[in-house]
């Protein structure tokens, strides 16, 4: 039956056409999706790289502050305070590198009038510091404007991990 055969051929041809068009549209849609995903990934990488660079820059500034502490002399604060010792700044530098690896950098590093290097952390209305004393002590203090300060005495060469845990849990 030529008519039936002709009709089937026409139907097959239409189906083929639709399939081809569908595939082309699907391919195009997939291509757009892939493109979007590509740009999203690129954006994520750029943002992450910018954060990395920012963190790197901050770390270098803090490291510079720490190095400058080594040039202070007796009475640097005009109240006859001791300058931070080489050992205290060395321990503080190790601690700073650990903090860098943990993406938990302090906001500033200053000399302590008690003799040593102090790393200050600020987050919202919470404050904390760690002081590496010339005496070998490591002090961690957590405080804000109202509550009774929390003071923990540690040993500078052994308790750095504990200090980081305390700081992290306070700012969590």
């Amino acid at each position: 039956m030529p008519c039936m055969s002709q009709a089937r051929n026409t139907l097959d041809s239409q189906t083929y056409g639709l399939r081809t068009a569908g595939r082309a549209r699907l391919g195009s849609a997939l291509s757009v999706a892939r493109e979007e995903e590509f740009f999203r990934q690129l954006f994520r990488e750029t943002r992450s790289s910018s954060k990395f660079l920012e963190r790197q820059r901050r770390f270098e500034l803090l490291e510079g502050s720490l190095i400058r502490l080594r040039s202070l002399s007796q009475g640097w604060d005009s109240y006859d305070s001791e300058p931070p010792s080489f050992d205290a700044t060395g321990l503080a530098a190790n601690f700073l590198r650990k903090l860098y690896r943990e993406s938990f950098l302090p906001s500033s590093i200053v000399p302590s009038a008690e003799g040593g290097a102090a790393l200050y952390f600020v987050g919202g209305n919470k404050n904390a510091y760690t002081e590496f004393r010339n005496s070998g002590e490591l002090i961690v203090a957590l405080y804000d404007d109202k509550i009774e300060p929390i003071v923990v005495e540690l040993s500078a060469d052994a308790d750095e991990t504990r200090a980081i845990e305390l700081l992290r849990s306070y700012f969590r």
Partner: protein, 171 residues
């Protein structure tokens, strides 16, 4: 070491060229009123986020000038800095607090002892206003100085930093 030109001019401008009061055999005056001010110099790097950092204070016997015999700017004058001009490496300002704001008493961690902090007038030959913050256990005599444990020292430094306000910003 000579002072920076701008710092020297600043000091002359604010002090009106009047040096701090010298002791000249005058005896110390023991009593302090609660509303009397205490002045202390500070370094700009110890001022962060609108507040003075506890790292600015050390034990024992923190030095201040009492306002009864001193202008705020006197603490920047060489006569009240042990005869030395302030280092040109730093930028200096002046803090103040009232005697009644001194955080006292401060309890030890174990709760067994309490430490009382109070000002004592300790004039020097060229700085009659020079005073110190003394610390003693609540059970000790008023003239004794007791060295407090680390937790009391840190708590006191933090609380003292809370009450100190800027009187003269750093230059």
């Amino acid at each position: 070491m000579p002072m920076k030109q701008e710092q020297s001019s600043f000091l002359e401008a604010i002090s009106g060229n009047t040096p701090p009061i010298h002791q000249d055999s005058k005896p110390p005056v023991d009593s302090f009123q609660n509303d009397e001010l205490l002045y202390r110099r500070y370094l700009s790097e110890h001022f962060n986020g609108g507040k003075i950092l506890p790292a600015s204070f050390r034990f024992p016997r923190q030095s201040f000038n009492r306002s009864r015999f001193s202008k705020p700017e006197d603490v920047l004058h060489p006569d009240c800095c042990g005869g030395k001009a302030l280092s040109t490496q730093g930028e200096w300002g002046v803090l103040e607090c009232r005697v009644g704001q001194i955080p006292s008493p401060v309890g030890s961690l174990d709760g067994r002892s309490s430490y009382i902090f109070s000002p004592k007038h300790v004039p020097t030959p060229t700085c009659y206003a020079h005073s110190e913050l003394w610390c003693r256990k609540d059970s000790s005599d008023a003239d004794e100085y007791d060295n407090p444990p680390t937790s009391v020292k840190e708590t006191f430094r933090i609380k003292l930093a809370r009450v100190m306000a800027v009187r003269i910003p750093t230059v």
